[in-house]
């Protein structure tokens, strides 16, 4: 027991064992899960073509082969069209000034008995230049930030998790508050909204940028209910996220452009990838990383020593992953 507690507290302070677990277990799981969808489609195709039709005469098979092939091609094209539609929506995410954008695919949701937080697993990691706390956006707004990293995979803490807190501002009335998740199936709560502060149902909540993690002005949630309960000094405000975590397939990772590169690095007005040479056909799988940074031996994202405000989490694993108080 003493050995365990010693290991636990040492790891909480240093994060070494967490890093080891991320760089082995998470990485292995990524390589197992990534081909899963492909394997599933192949198995399904095999079943359709060779098992389901067992017993039918060969003549019927040849007559229907063309139809099956055409149907499969149609299904494939429809899938590609849907994917192109989703990717084009990802491309419409225009990174704020001094921020760059990189696409990533969601390969899994919560995984295993220790996945206690609301998370999704991405197919990009430290080798793609990502860092812990990198903001993650969907087509409609912020969905979370990076929690853990391995060389080619990353875990995203969603804003709907009860441990996620983000300082927000209402887009129209500029009322400030702290957006707190309440779980995947529950509406989020906006805390510390003063009684007299103006706020309307349906109003968009955008990041205030005060925690120095998310860029300012990105949509996070939409207000669904504003009221008052009991003798509280604050309003009771509920908001809904701008994404459905179960339907997330592609996301955009927003990275701060270093100061020395920032001079001419403003995002292009057409919303296209702002990294020169980035493939236009598939921004998710072909977009080159902005910079390949070797992983830190401690397992933390390289360059994590950037200054942070007091509210932001300290070095990884030292404190709960809160983006703000």
């Amino acid at each position: 027991m003493f050995l365990y507690l010693g290991l636990f507290t040492w790891n909480i302070r240093t994060g070494y064992v967490d890093a080891l677990a991320s760089y082995t277990g998470l990485e292995f799981a990524k390589w197992v899960l990534a081909p899963g969808k492909w394997a599933a489609s192949r198995v399904s195709s095999f079943w359709d073509r060779y098992v389901y039709f067992v017993g039918l005469r060969e003549e019927n098979d040849s007559l229907r082969a063309a139809l099956v092939e055409a149907s499969q091609e149609l299904a494939l094209l429809r899938e590609r069209a849907a994917e192109a539609d989703r990717l084009s929506r990802i491309l419409t995410i225009r990174p704020p000034v001094a921020w760059s954008r990189q696409g990533a695919r969601v390969i899994s949701h919560r995984l295993g008995p220790n996945a206690a937080l609301e998370t999704v697993l991405l197919d990009k990691g430290a080798l793609d230049g990502l860092k812990v706390n990198t903001p993650v956006a969907g087509p409609d707004g912020i969905i979370g930030r990076l929690l853990r990293l391995s060389p080619s995979a990353a875990t995203v803490l969603l804003v709907t998790d009860p441990n996620s807190r983000i300082p927000v501002t209402s887009q129209k009335n500029r009322t400030q508050g702290i957006l707190k998740g309440e779980g995947a199936s529950n509406e989020m709560v906006v805390q510390y909204v003063a009684l007299g502060a103006p706020l309307e149902e349906g109003e968009l909540l955008v990041t205030s940028g005060l925690e120095d993690i998310f860029p300012k002005g990105l949509p996070v949630a939409r207000v669904t209910e504003v009221g008052r309960r009991g003798s509280s000094l604050f309003q009771t405000v509920y908001a809904e996220p701008l994404f459905d975590s179960k339907r997330l397939e592609e996301v955009a990772l927003l990275a701060r452009i270093p100061e020395e590169q920032n001079g001419g690095a403003a995002p292009r007005a057409d919303g296209q990838a702002d990294t020169p040479g980035k493939a236009e056909s598939d921004p998710i799988s072909h977009s080159p990383p902005p910079a390949v940074v070797p992983p830190d031996p401690t397992g933390r994202a390289p360059g994590l020593g950037a200054p942070r405000p007091a509210q932001a989490p300290g070095p990884e694993r030292k404190k709960p992953p809160r983006s703000s108080p």
């Binding site: 365990y4 290991l7 636990f8 790891n11 909480i12 064992v17 967490d18 080891l20 677990a21 991320s22 760089y23 082995t24 277990g25 998470l26 990485e27 292995f28 799981a29 197992v32 899960l33 899963g36 899994s108 949701h109 919560r110 995984l111 295993g112 008995p113 220790n114 996945a115 206690a116 937080l117 998370t119 697993l121 929690l147 853990r148 391995s150 875990t155 803490l157 009860p162 441990n163 779980g183 694993r317 404190k319 709960p320």
Partner: protein, 156 residues
């Protein structure tokens, strides 16, 4: 460990990870550890436990140590129950499944408190129930498959 056993445990690990992606919060590798303790040498079990420990810790979001307690308690419960029950008795596996379900609730709560986190109790409860339900069923299937391996001396 012979080739068929290596292939078996490798495929089991891959399938377990995919199933864990399909049903979040449930450990699909734990029944394999128990079967391995029942059928293989302890060194094989130790290596498999170490590999699965890092998979669970790496893919999880709790601080390192939860998986250690999880698999440590599972092995402890197995050896403790081994004194009272026949090791391959389905009733024993059923009780072990219930114990794992309860352990999931307790461990999640304790680790969340230690890390000052908040976890939705209803979700953890459902996961514990699923773990208790799935564990004996998966162990039973695994036991049947393992004992039909061609190189198994106990092959049916």
């Amino acid at each position: 460990m012979n080739i068929s056993a290596i292939v078996f445990w490798s495929l089991f690990t891959l399938l377990g990870i995919w199933l864990q992606g399909a049903i979040p919060g449930v450990d699909f590798l734990a029944p394999g550890l128990i079967l391995c303790l029942q059928e293989e040498k302890w060194t094989v079990s130790a290596w498999l436990a170490l590999a699965w420990l890092f998979i669970q810790e790496g893919t999880g979001s709790l601080a390192f140590g939860t998986g250690l307690l999880w698999y440590g308690t599972l092995v402890g419960l197995y050896y403790f129950g081994h004194w009272l029950f026949e090791a391959k008795n389905f009733l024993f596996m059923f009780i072990l499944g219930i114990s794992l379900g309860l352990l999931h609730l307790i461990l999640s709560h304790v680790m969340a408190v230690l890390q000052d986190w908040t976890l939705p109790a209803d979700r953890i409860l459902v996961e514990g129930f699923l773990q208790a339900l799935i564990f004996p069923v998966e162990w039973g299937l695994l036991y049947l498959i393992y004992n039909h391996l061609p190189d198994n001396p106990h092959a049916v």
